[in-house]
Subunit: 533 residues, 2 copies
């Protein structure tokens, strides 16, 4: 993973010149004056951990598995939000962990947590390091270690009768898919972070993949889990569903390392699809397209992938990142709204669903665009984070945020967030392109995923913080949830507190106090602080 | 509701004479020597509430809505398990509440809880009164009130765009369906307790209906809820799904009144089906039938109703309670195993699913029995509790229990529970008929529902407690959950504690202490006590 951006450095692709021109002419994007700092030039503060602490940790996980060198610490600093990247590119390493600890088992995690609780060393679980909500930047801590789970990367067991697999948290998603594919199965979980994200991160952050309409969200897939806490282990899930009390699995899922470290999950698996067909549809407006998606979500048949770009996103071609700026991909004001549908399964099932969906979409005013736009989308589905790096490189700012609501709230949520982003960034002198797509659908609602591109301006992190606050206020005001699949982290914590109310927040604190009385687990992340007396 | 049994007394139907003969010859069932006590002959202890307390409660809910008369107290004593019925028929009223309080609104519930917390009066929320797990019999309390929610019985709002409805907790299921039907919708939630159970009870106990394969479990349907606790309100659910932290809705669902009183739910609704088709299939063995159901659950197409009786249940005709004991319904040892499938939806969808399912079942060795067995099942689907009353009347004992597990654990779970029930009751001199069906299916597992019929013997409550303990131990030993849809109550609490482990139980206590520091909410129900120091 590139320390200052996304993914495999070999896959970085500079923006085509026409695109750079477009950004300059439309948004006033100018190259940054100071070149980014190189890794070798970065400094981190002296570790705040005593040698005896490092020795004690090494006594649990082994000598080579406690690392306090500068590069290891930098590579575990913050996540992959745009502000995270801008800060690290500027050489700002204040959130670096004091050491990186790599446990090899559930029992080692338990022992590390017990030790750290006794010594009041904070612990930040680290999977793929792809958080975009400040989930890896604890607050109010002295020393802290990044607990990198990469050594816990096994497929423990496949149960072909129950169609479940037990996976360790440090397994990265592509490796998990490869291991399952050897046996003819898939998880079907493909979020945009797929190439780097980890199984534990999916569970801890309630991830939702691009094929969620077909395979479900990750929290739907988890039927059992184990977690380690400073107060001992949790082992939950004896059946797919139960009436034996509250579903405590759902209290660990989404707990973002604040309640414990997920040390394994038992997940539903499905036969690898024999057929995959992707296609595009055009709608005259976002409203009409949304109504069509709603019909599929409520009455079926559902594709595995179902998304709809608004006019701006369709026009700018971000719905097709691979072709951005290429000849012929210039803005077309009559583009309407592009929907992408992906069908996966047996050939018969794919054919039947595809025909059924086509009938619904035609009735709803859709115009079929054939396989082309769908296949282009599929080809480029994991490229957006690379594109962001290239945009940052030429002096543009690019960031995303997302929310979800019930269908009847979706139109005002869409307008409110779009207005908040546009007005705030324009007011700061960096008029943005604001684009949106419906990324996930349910019978009763949908998620909205916004992408913003603008010039960086004088202080892009500060500009964005203002815009993000305004967008978060708009989400809250329009009845949306502060996150559909990115999580809470530190960035969303205040809005999350308002969303669950004072008693909801107090319940979270009570749970945290019970499993983590020393307060060492990801301090400042997720759990709203107690109101001041 | 009949105070000493189930449902509408006018619908009671004495057992046909051939059935009584069968019970006598096969199981040694003999008429009870002492006739049951009549309602007028029942006595309850003097209320332990001061007049000032009743006056204060009436100040909140109104004069007519606090009741301390004997009949009101008896009608809110315990639930509808067989031991509950045997105890009340024997005149044993020790679990009677000291008063019945009927709040009219969320705010009144909040005020009642605040008052009761201040005065240390325990509160047992009461919906349909249909608990079969001791959920209405608090433990370790002095005075307690039954908080009967029947006045909160409105359909508050239908959102046709989002396909959701907001329902109050005291709405009984048939009334909810009638209100939704006026607008063309259904919940699709039809547990066996349907005719008397309440919306709040469905949510508080994670109910699962007979059509769960098609419409989902009740906890799947709930997308939002409000609850009142002594420490204030909870208002959860801004979107169908969210990554904003743990899903706190899932902490309230299944909390059985121990964390608060659910004062409204926002639930998914669906268009009332234009077509319903039910049918029967025969399998040579339970294993083969289970494998066929698993194929439908994993690869589809799924009917709305899908169940499979084992050889004993099929043979004895309990799969068809309406015909029990009728001429021609005598045991047939070659009956195999009866599966019932019910398809609901548009005519096209029903036809397509039915044809698809038939292909799968034929391949799996199923023999189609046509519409007859399916329609008979549908006709009698809510009759089993009436049948139980008739069995008790002639001196038989009848009770049910249920569990769920992953598919690979289902065979040993089935054998272990059957053996535990048979051996324990035979050892007590009341050899039972033990019957079972798969009642609910998921891609990764299924639930098993056991019915036991035997002679009452000397002390049927004590005999059953032994058998139930043995069955619960068998469930735990075979990896099942202690309840798939009946809940925990007081009866399952010890096994539940083992199922979620010491830290899971401690988390529940932490939540309870936060929302109910005085410990007034359904004491002794659900939440395992702290281990003794």
């Amino acid at each position: 993973m590139l320390w200052s951006g996304w993914g495999d450095p070999a896959r970085a692709a500079p923006l085509p010149e026409p695109m750079v021109g477009l950004l300059r002419d439309l948004l006033g994007v100018r190259p940054a004056e100071a070149p980014p700092v190189g890794l070798a030039g970065l400094k981190v503060a002296a570790p705040r951990l005593a040698g005896a602490d490092l020795t004690a940790l090494a006594g649990i996980v082994g000598d080579g598995n406690v690392r306090a060198d500068t590069e290891s610490r930098i590579r575990h600093t913050r996540g992959k939000s745009t502000p995270d990247l801008l800060r690290i590119r500027a050489g700002e390493t204040s959130d670096a962990p004091d050491a990186v600890v790599l446990p090899g088992s559930h029992d080692e995690v338990l022992a590390v947590l017990r030790l750290c609780a006794a010594k009041r060393i904070a612990v930040v679980p680290f999977g793929g390091g792809t958080s975009v909500v400040g989930g890896l930047a604890p607050r109010g801590v002295d020393a802290f270690v990044a607990l990198d789970l990469r050594r816990m990367d096994r497929l423990v067991e496949i149960d072909e009768v129950s169609r479940t697999a037990v996976l360790q948290p440090g397994l990265r998603a592509p490796a998990a898919e490869a291991l399952l594919a050897e046996r003819g199965y898939t998880l079907g979980h493909f979020p945009q972070s797929f190439e780097w994200a980890s199984i534990g991160g999916f569970a801890a952050a309630r991830s939702s993949g691009q094929a969620s309409a077909g395979y479900g969200r990750f929290d739907d897939m988890v039927v059992g889990l184990t977690a380690a806490t400073p107060e001992g282990p949790l082992d939950l899930g004896r059946a797919p569903k139960s009436a034996a009390g509250p579903d405590l699995r759902q209290l660990v899922l989404g707990s973002e390392g604040a309640f414990g470290v997920i040390t394994s999950v038992r997940v539903r698996i499905q036969p690898a699809p024999a057929a995959r067909e992707y296609e595009g549809w055009r709608f005259a407006s976002f409203d009409r397209g949304a109504a069509a998606l709603r019909r599929l979500a409520q009455d079926g048949p559902l594709p595995a992938v179902l998304r709809l770009s608004d006019e701006a996103e369709t026009m700018i071609g971000l719905a097709d990142p691979a072709a951005l700026g290429a000849p012929g991909a210039a803005p077309r004001p009559d583009a309407g709204c592009l929907a992408v549908l992906g069908f996966e399964g047996t050939p018969e099932n794919v054919a039947a669903r595809r025909a059924g969906a086509a009938e619904v979409l035609r009735e709803a005013g859709g115009e079929p665009l054939g396989a082309g736009p769908g296949e282009k989308w599929e080809h480029g589905r994991f490229n957006a984070p690379y594109l962001r790096d290239s945009l940052l490189d030429v002096g543009a700012f690019a960031e995303t945020l997302e929310t979800a609501a019930f269908w009847s709230d979706v139109p005002r949520l869409y307008e409110a967030v779009r207005r908040a982003l546009t007005e705030t960034l324009s007011g700061a002198g960096t008029s943005p392109l604001v684009m949106c797509h419906i990324s996930h659908v349910y019978p009763s609602g949908a998620s909205l995923y916004f992408t913003v591109v603008s010039a960086q301006g004088e202080d892009p992190v500060e500009h964005w913080e203002q815009a993000k606050r305004a967008a978060s206020d708009a989400i809250a005001g329009a009845g949306g949830t502060i996150s559909h699949h990115h999580g809470v982290g530190t960035d969303h914590r205040d809005w999350y507190a308002a969303e669950i109310g004072p008693l909801g927040a107090a319940v979270l604190r009570a749970v945290k106090d019970r499993v983590d009385p020393a307060g060492i687990l990801n301090p400042g992340v997720l759990v709203p602080p107690a109101p001041e007396e």
